[in-house]
């Protein structure tokens, strides 16, 4: 199975371009976040300043008309945000192209080592985010999502990078296609509730500097809805892993480090779902649990692959 180096090179280029585009998009989102005024404050502020600029109406009567200054700021933020979305889309296209090219270059599913796995994971996170943006009014938060994605992709493309190559015999199975893709997509999707939960914790801490973040209720629902989508997928991924392990390693479950941490993460997400349905555990405790779940997912990806030795040492690093 020779590797088509031209395609592999194109894949690398599109990957790099995708990272660059995401970073620019993140900057746009963060600017939007910075320029956009938190509504209640904004009203109070503008109303207070209204005497001097005499451009805005009063906040109290509901028929408030924004002043010239404010409108300009608003629309500038809005434009930045929309450009951010367009860039995210462009980045996702490049990112997707890089995955496809890698697959064509190696003539196998393009998720056989840690670089490729990270790439697929972040791709799932970006696509998931694009979908969530249509469901919730959270465009401004794009930066908070794209920054961790950018970091993961940067690490993936440098530290973890592996040349395009065929995979070893243990990985030559259609279960590679199913298990790894399902697990990485679900892990990538877990990034979204992870970010949402961290923002929830910041927002609900009540500190003024986080006042611009969306309503905690929105963040909580964002976290819940994305978890509810990712969790069954993750479960399915673990089961596919077990089926594969039965064929490849002689047993379907053997407490290999990766299996163990997946199990722990699974239990933590199950606890999250329960906590969210239990009086006294809603809100901040649930958000903490979800954050821990994502921390475990990342730990599973990096620490277990790079530091411990187990059967999952297919990372192709070093």
């Amino acid at each position: 199975m020779p590797v088509n180096t031209t395609l592999a090179t194109f894949s690398d280029w599109t990957y790099g371009a995708a990272v660059a585009v995401y970073v620019i998009a993140a900057v746009f989102y963060l600017c939007e976040q910075a320029f956009a005024k938190h509504k209640p404050r904004e009203r109070a502020m503008v109303a207070a300043g209204a005497e001097t600029t005499q451009a805005a109406g009063t906040a109290e009567d509901g028929t408030w008309t924004p002043g010239l200054v404010v409108r300009e700021e608003r629309s500038r933020a809005e434009v930045l945000g929309r450009m951010g979305v367009a860039l995210t889309l462009l980045g996702a296209l490049l990112h997707g192209a890089s995955l496809v090219l890698r697959g064509l270059a190696t003539e196998r599913a393009p998720w056989g080592n840690m670089y490729e796995y990270t790439s697929l994971l972040t791709f799932a996170a970006v696509v998931g985010w694009l979908v969530l943006m249509r469901m919730f009014p959270v465009r401004k938060l794009g930066g908070f999502v794209l920054v961790p994605i950018g970091i993961l992709m940067f690490l993936g493309g440098t530290v973890l990078y592996a040349e395009a190559a065929p995979v070893q015999p243990a990985l030559q199975s259609y279960w590679l296609v199913v298990h790894v893709s399902v697990i990485s997509v679900s892990s990538g999707l877990f990034l979204l509730p992870g970010v949402a939960s961290v923002l929830y914790l910041l927002k609900s801490s009540g500190r003024a500097k986080f006042a611009k973040l969306p309503d905690p209720g929105v963040l909580d629902r964002l976290a819940y809805r994305s978890t509810v989508f990712a969790f069954p997928l993750f479960t399915l991924g673990i089961i596919c892993g077990a089926i594969w392990a039965e064929a490849a390693w002689g047993r379907f479950w053997g407490w290999d480090p990766k299996e163990t941490v997946s199990f722990v993460a699974w239990v933590v997400y199950a606890a999250y779902l329960h906590a969210r349905a239990t009086a006294g555990w809603r809100g901040r405790p649930s958000a903490w649990i979800n954050t821990v779940g994502f921390a475990l997912t990342v730990f599973n990806l990096f620490f277990i692959n790079l530091v411990t030795t187990g059967l999952h040492s297919y990372a192709g690093v070093g």
């Binding site: 509810v228 089926i243 379907f252 480090p257 933590v268």
Partner: protein, 512 residues
């Protein structure tokens, strides 16, 4: 007596409370984690020994707390069992509730629908009957009852999404089933490994002693294994230029059932990811290595051929180490024999490369095999009563001066060396061996079935939304009817709003 009952009841209540279940879930997660961070006996016993040695009292302390056997430890089992009990305690009442709700009719329409989270109303040029009929049409697929109120108003109570509860119960019961099947499998299963020469070597699953290593479940005593035999006819591997393995294939034949009588071998290409499944067991190709072939010509002219597997010390190049041992021929006296035993040890390189005199392996394939051997003569200690490794010589015999190194040389295929007493040792090349594993787990199909149900139940219980809708049609004096619609989402609110809007638009439109 009464106090004891009260105590039991309170314990039970405490155990089955959601709070407790959550705490237990956390303990389970926390308890499983050390298994990923500390070496585990079940995975690698040698590493555990090293770890304990490196960490002094702390290492021994962890050992006392069973931290190297986490999943068999008392504390892990305790959490596991408590969670199990809690789950059962949670599921029983929920199942009754489920049955009760399934039979129950949708609840009465609340008096004031305007108080519902979702609400709409309109005055329509219809009779109440027509309005109700329209609602009935539109709500096809919902569970509904129509009622008439004392005031003459007609109502419909409808609900949907009961499947969520079904999914939830399926999920939890399957989880129970999965735990039970898993535990049974651990009790009645076993796993054994054995090395077989790939030139027609045979292995029969007829007893524990045929294995190199054997790990039985708690309820396995090693008698009564499933009968089958395996014969390894050849082994083929292909590699990429950088030495990474590309494919492994062992040509095997197997016998089970009636074939054992008739002696017929059925061929099977045994590959990684493609175990042989026969007689209820599975046979896996785990690994492979090389057996160096030595021909020893003793001073009296007698020849012996040694073919003992050596074990790879470098997985990438398959450089291997081992010890091939010989008894001197024609020496009936044990005392005398023990002075003339031979052992050939050292390094085997399937593709030789030399740095000066130093041999190493450049590639895992046997392209140009060579060995760097140390030959020992004397007492190998095989009669000493101490356990002997087939891969090394007994160093104690060397330090005791009973075993002495008599030669050291590099040999390519076909080359030989001569000892001081005239013994000639010739290296004849290598032969493949494969290591195979036999696994037996009588409940794994059940585990699979339950896990599939777990996912299905989960998907249903997380996607289906339970919601209610009520319609009240109140006749007005002018022959028109006020139709009110109220809606309530019983699980996560998100998403019901749009459905309700569409529903009420249809129910409240002016034209029919």
């Amino acid at each position: 007596m009464r106090a004891a009952l009260a105590f039991l009841r309170n314990t039970w209540r405490g155990l089955t409370a959601m709070r407790t279940a959550l705490t237990l879930l956390f303990l389970l997660a926390l308890g499983a984690l050390p298994g990923a961070l500390l070496p585990q006996r079940s995975l690698n016993a040698r590493k555990v020994t090293e770890y304990i040695a490196e960490n002094g009292w702390w290492g021994r302390f962890l050992d006392r707390l069973q931290f190297y056997d986490v999943y068999a430890s008392y504390w892990f089992s305790a959490v596991y069992v408590l969670l199990f009990v809690s789950l059962v305690g949670c599921l029983l009442p929920r199942s009754w509730e489920y049955v009760r709700q399934m039979r129950a009719k949708p609840v009465l329409t609340p008096r004031n629908l305007a108080r519902m989270p979702h609400h709409a109303s309109a005055e329509l040029p219809l009779t109440p009957d027509a309005a109700v009929e329209r609602a009935r049409e539109r709500l096809r697929g919902w569970r509904l009852v129509a009622r008439e109120e004392a005031s003459g108003a007609r109502t419909i109570s409808a609900e949907r999404g009961f499947l969520r509860e079904t999914g939830n119960l399926v999920f939890h019961f399957s989880l129970l089933g999965l735990l039970v099947a898993f535990a049974l499998g651990k009790m009645f299963g076993y796993e054994g490994q054995v090395i077989v020469q790939a030139n027609g070597g045979q292995f029969c699953n007829s007893g524990v002693f045929n294995y190199d290593t054997f790990r039985p479940g708690l309820r396995v005593d090693g008698t009564d294994l499933n009968q089958f035999c395996v014969k390894v006819d050849g082994f083929h591997a292909t590699y990429l230029p950088n030495g990474q393995a590309e494919t492994f294939l062992a040509d095997i034949g197997f016998q089970s059932g009636a074939d054992l009588e008739s002696g017929e071998w059925r061929p099977y290409p045994l590959e990684v990811n493609h175990p042989l499944r026969t007689a209820g067991d599975r046979v896996y190709l785990l690994g492979h290595g090389y057996t160096p072939l030595f021909t020893v010509t003793f001073p009296n002219g007698e020849q012996r051929v040694g073919a003992t597997q050596w074990r790879p010390v470098n997985e990438l190049t398959l450089a291997s180490e081992g010890a091939t041992k010989f008894d001197p021929p024609g020496v009936p006296d044990a005392e005398q024999r023990r002075r003339g035993q031979l052992a050939i040890t050292g390094l085997l390189a399937p593709t030789a490369t030399f740095r000066g005199e130093l041999l190493d392996s450049a590639f895992p394939e046997a392209r140009d095999p060579a060995v760097a051997v140390d030959v020992y003569r004397g007492d190998l200690g095989t009669d000493s009563g101490r356990g002997q490794s087939i891969f090394s010589i007994d160093q104690k015999m060397v330090t005791d001066g009973k075993l002495a190194k008599v030669a050291r040389q590099n040999l390519r295929k076909g080359e030989s060396l001569t000892l001081d007493d005239g013994t000639v040792i010739r290296f004849d090349g290598v032969r493949d061996w494969v290591s195979i594993q036999v696994s037996h787990d009588p409940t794994q199909t059940w585990v699979l079935a339950f896990s599939v149900l777990v996912v299905l139940g989960l998907a249903v219980s997380l996607t289906v939304k339970r919601r209610r809708v009520w319609v009240r049609a109140t006749p007005q004096d002018d022959g028109r009817t006020v139709v009110e619609v109220g809606g309530l989402a019983r699980t996560d609110q998100a998403g019901y709003g749009e459905e309700f809007t569409a529903l009420s638009r249809d129910l409240l439109k002016k034209e029919s």
